[in-house]
Amino acid sequence: MTTLASILMDGIAYGMILFMISVGLSVTMGLMRVVNLAHGGFAMLGGAFTHWAMTAAGLPFVPAAVLGLLAVMVLSVPMERVLYRPIYRMGELPQVLATIGITFIMIASVNLWLGSSLLSIRLPAAMSGAVDLGFRTLPTHRLYVLGAGVVVIGGLFVLIERTRFGIKLRAAVDHAGTAACLGIDTSRIFALTFALGAGLAALGGILGAELLPIDAYYPLRYMILFLTVVAVGGLGSITGSFVAALALGVLDTAARYLFPDVGTIFFYLAMIVMLGLRPQGLMGRA
């Protein structure tokens, strides 16, 4: 019973971090139809900026994290305009090649700038340590991640389903030409959505750094993880990513509790079975 509760606690916390990092990819990949393998790069840049702001500029965690988040969003706008705009029109394979190229550029830049060692982000006292839950303790940091995850999914739902921006975005995605005829500035919508996706990646990178530590090779190290969550959840489905991330997190955690030697095989097995049954993902549109 205690083990079961422990698995659920750890699994949901881990899944929430997976969700936070992957949801941005789900937004850009699903809504904008671009296979952006450089997504993890934005998460890494968010972490790198935050690390830099804390160590070189001596800022405390919260302002440094806000700065990291804003820096990534600001950087993503010219990147979208110069690099990604031609990529939208490419086929899937050229998209993959182009965005993996961007990933390598990001890795090399961070390597040159901050080196190849770990870029640690020290949490403030309020977020570190452990909370006693009675039957066990849970790192305090996980509670913040749980909270942030709930806020993100709620915020995205409202933004896409309930605001004018969301309506325009969905229109632009369904048929950019028609949307433009109706007076929607599609290129501006795409730029904003791209910045949103990059910002979500950065937020996930910063908050998830305790579990997925930041270093220059972060985008490649965890690429499979993000892609799995998005593929299992269904492209473009935020709820799908959420459910997939939590399910995969709990499953992976359960495997580690019960059969540590077999390792990560369950994670991939679940992915294969899921995609075999539903190639479009849990909540993807066929």
């Binding site: 060692s117 452990a130 305790e210 390792g263």
Partner: protein
Amino acid sequence: MKFNGLMGVALAALLAGVGSGAGADVVKVGVVASFSGPFAMYGKQFKDAIDAYVAEHGTKAGDHEVQFIFKDDGGPNPDQAKALTQELLVKDKVNYLAGYVFTPNALAVAPLIDQAQVPTVIFNAATSIITTKSPYFIRTSFTTPQVAAPLADWAIAQGIKTVVTSVTDYGPGIDAEKGFAKEFEAKGGKVLDAIRMPIQTTDFGPFMQRIKAAAPNALFTFIPAGPPAFAFVKSYADNGMAAAGIKFLGTGDLDDETTLQTLGDAALGIHTSFPYSAAHDSPMNAKFQADLAKVNPGAVANFASVGAYDGTEALYRMIAAGGTDPDKAMKAVLGASWESPRGPITIDPKTRHVTQNMYIRVVERDASGKLINKEIETIPNVPDLGLAK
């Protein structure tokens, strides 16, 4: 006056040139290591240490001029290491080889160096069997059992009776688990659970809960430096393991000096075993670090730099005594002892591996607030325990 002085210098240089031209030759050393990619730290540490050694001792070993040629194998990549080594042997005609960060890379070149009879100094790769693969291999780093077993002895002496081992599930991790468990059980300790953790895991919460449930006196871990080591140490602190009375014992791979500062307060009080700590208190170590700072300000000394520094000493001894004669060179270094920045070392003539002190260290903050590996106990003259069966 000034002109005369210059003339004098020029003349002396000319004479020296003529003098050395008669007896001296150039002996080439090929260094194969990772200078790019995720493991670029090793190449950088090797090169800094070689530069520091050369700055201190000059470019001549005995009568011979020494020239280093560096090649980048990019990581654990045996094919690439083999191709580069072949190129060094055939095209550059090197007389010595050195470097080799990873076991598969070192194993891949064994047939080549055996055939070419080229003495090869391994600066890092830590699996015991490597030196058995060719009589021309020498190693100046350490092996995993050499580090793990002394820690088991120390744990017993501290009154630790039960442990859970949790190691990364790959070759060196399993070596460490066996090395530790064998010694610990031989001395009357009990291993309650042996966990092998998938290599890419960074969420260690579940393992910590499992260890906590077994309630041992201590946990023993081997985990390579980098993101997993960072997450493991964090997880140990966040899950309140120390408060539950479970001590942290590990090999020094996880808190080497290049990553120690990033671990932060979570690392305070953990115990590790390793041949080298930058905080080792000796004039030799102080001088080594000063020399290192001269060639590269901001350089951090760690096990990789000291492995390369002692390896360069071995190369110089071989070149001075043997020149380009491999067997004379090998004879000069087998059984040799000298003072290293890590303490006294000997190249064991039988295993061709370095016999050295192991240190039990605890992580503390020094006067300036930096984290250090403070040596609290010395286990003298530990041979490679992996082959002693």
